[in-house]
Amino acid sequence: MSAKDNILARIRAANTAQAATGEVASTAAARLSAHPRGPMPTMTWDPLVQFRACSIAAASTIDEVRRRVELPAAVARYLRQNSLPMSGVCWPEFGDLDWLDAGLEMQSRPATGDDKVGVTGSFCALAETGTLVLLSGENQAATTSLLPETHIAVVNTGRVVVSMEDVWDLLRAETGGLPRQINFVSGPSRTADIEMTLVYGAHGPFRVHVLLLDE
């Protein structure tokens, strides 16, 4: 008998002994395919208003951009205002933008430990908690939102969903399965492990800036 057989046999014996044999196999399988939602809290707010409020509560900052071509100017404005380095890396989807014109030196490649600014897109955003949803993939380096001290994320206003359950539905509809990794990011990296005092920039970014793109 393998460890697996032993463990499964002990689970079955324990459940029988505790008269908690659960449901027949088909019921468990049905739960997996039906994936019913549990009770949801009341969420009657406007998703964009809520996303904005929760992002700020999670210590992100937010700006709005009407058109895609205005993204470099918005990034430059933010970096300049905060006296941050004017160079970094971006996801390939933004490689075509005229960064130089905005005074930025932006390379379209995954971030290394030396890059100071990372610009990413997002799969969608979650209004409930002010959260960015990022997927791993060919053109979506995880390092870009993780290693630089500043993470700037572009979110399309049409992709702000209400609840985490909506994210799963969107994934099932659009990607037909999960990528290697889904990351839910709610504001900058933080810790309170010393005397319960909150400090930003524990291991990941010190700051997260969200650009809400209306186009």
Partner: protein, 469 residues
């Protein structure tokens, strides 16, 4: 991890008298409690969600065999290498085998309480592997060669000054005295290790059967680094962490961070399904998951079964008046507070942790705060019954209970004896109405507190008098 729960009483006494421990506890006191109370107000149907979460966890346990098999099928299909192990030794050996089989020199580790249970760091280090804890709290206690005193705030017993001295010595840098500076120095020291480690080890908050995924939450981002940067990622997960669907995950996520730190959601929530895919920009080449029993199936078949619902938020210890006064170390193993008083006897044996079920006032705060409604006082009461059955309670206490039982089953004698005790007690209480020292086995009880003295009449006397008038 070495089990020192047998010394609970002695260590608890030391912690009560230790000024530094008391200062640290005073600093922390109530912070998590207040933050949680505020956070749960965000959910207008908190109790409904909590009830549903408890039901989901029970449903998982009742169908655990099926969900684990489904999980394994889906995980394997995504390219995850799954290992099943029964004991701590087997888990540690499997990890070391993966490491040595892949020429791993350096491991970065994200916090895992299961790893604390098996002493995995020491085991890998004995095998010649360099292991770095990366959660700031875990990093601090690894540097100090100590154990966690709280499951989500492991270094909460250490002061800023302790940590400043520790870092200056370990990092060979000038001593800092600012919390942000200390945090950022640890970031600087650990960053190169993230970038050049060969293997990452994480725990798993949950396994999702529907997709074959593992899930972890962190606030620092060390979990994301550990699961993304090294060429091998190994997640260790105990079997009861398996839940059915992503929807069940969202339900539990609404409770976990709110119950733990009072956040609406943890900063980073990472759902991992398999290793790096073709064309992916990053991610490990190999992804292993070690599924671990170590006592879980035994608890599943016992009356302590509801403790397996636990999602490791720490709310029970945050709300516990005993924990608030002695801290986590006195409990003597991985899990302190009320859940520790149940899990420690359940996993390591009641005879090694005989005092833990008594380390409670039964105020029921823990069970009210528990997001999955574990009836912790009931479970501790069951363990107390077992103490008596197994004759583990001190002899004096057992004799006293037997005398009381004998007396209580003889109503006339009982009435007479309590009348006597009420009158003697009143005299003994003096003007203050407090008994400072009880005789015989009672002396232990009054060592740390006074007994409010009886007022001279028993309940039955007063009741009878009222009825007459």
């Amino acid at each position: 991890m070495e089990i020192t729960s047998a010394h609970f009483k002695k260590v608890a006494g030391q912690k009560l008298a230790d000024k530094k421990v008391q200062e640290a506890l005073a600093r922390a006191k109530g912070k998590f409690v207040v933050a949680r109370a505020k956070a749960i107000e965000e959910l207008d149907n908190f109790e409904e969600i909590r009830r549903a979460a408890a039901d989901v966890r029970d449903h998982c346990l009742a169908n655990l065999d099926q969900y684990l098999e489904q999980w394994e099928d889906n995980a394997t299909a995504a390219g995850t290498i799954v290992h099943w192990v029964e004991s701590a030794e087997e888990m540690n050996r499997t990890l070391l085998d993966i490491a040595t089989g892949n020429n791993v020199r350096k491991v970065i580790k994200s916090k895992s309480m299961l790893g604390e249970e098996t002493g995995v760091n020491e085991y890998l280090e004995r095998g010649g592997i360099d292991v770095r804890e990366t959660d700031l709290g875990e990093y601090i206690i690894q540097q100090a060669k100590e154990y966690p005193s709280h499951i989500i705030a492991p270094a909460t017993h250490k002061s800023k000054d302790d940590i400043a001295t520790l870092f200056a010595e370990r990092h060979q840098r000038p001593r800092l005295d600012d919390i942000a500076q200390l945090t950022h120095e640890a970031r600087e020291i650990l960053r190169p290790h993230f970038l050049d480690a060969d293997m990452g080890i994480t725990g798993a908050n949950f396994l999702v059967a529907e997709t074959g995924s593992t899930m972890i939450v962190t606030n620092e981002g060390n979990g994301r680094m550990t699961t993304t940067l090294p060429r091998i990622h190994v997640a260790i997960a105990s079997i009861e962490k398996c839940i059915p669907t992503l929807e069940d995950l969202s339900l539990l996520m609404r409770l976990l961070a709110r119950s733990a730190t009072g956040q609406s959601i943890s900063n980073y929530l990472s759902v991992t399904t398999g290793p790096r895919r073709d064309g992916d920009s990053d991610g490990p080449e190999q992804f292993h998951v070690i599924l671990v029993d170590i006592g879980r199936t035994r608890v599943l078949g016992s009356e302590l079964r509801p403790a397996l619902r636990c999602i490791r938020c720490g709310a029970c210890m945050n709300h516990c008046p005993v924990y608030q006064n002695i801290g986590g170390h006195a409990y003597g193993w991985v899990y302190p507070g009320p859940i520790g008083s149940v899990l420690t006897p359940a996993y390591v044996g009641l005879e090694k942790a005989v005092d833990l079920p008594n380390a409670a006032t039964f105020c029921n705060q823990c069970s009210v705060a528990c997001p999955v409604k574990i009836p912790l006082p009931d479970l501790m009461r069951k363990l107390r019954e077992k103490q008596t059955e197994l004759k583990l309670a001190p002899a004096g206490q057992r004799v006293a209970m037997r005398v009381w039982a004998w007396l209580a089953s003889r109503p006339t004698l009982y009435a007479w004896a309590t009348k006597l005790a009420a009158r003697v007690g009143k005299i003994a209480g003096g003007r203050q109405g407090l008994v400072h020292r009880l005789p015989l086995v009672g002396a232990e009880w009054t060592r740390g507190r006074d007994l409010p003295a009886p007022r001279g009449k028993t309940f039955r006397e007063i009741y009878a008098a009222r009825k007459r008038s």
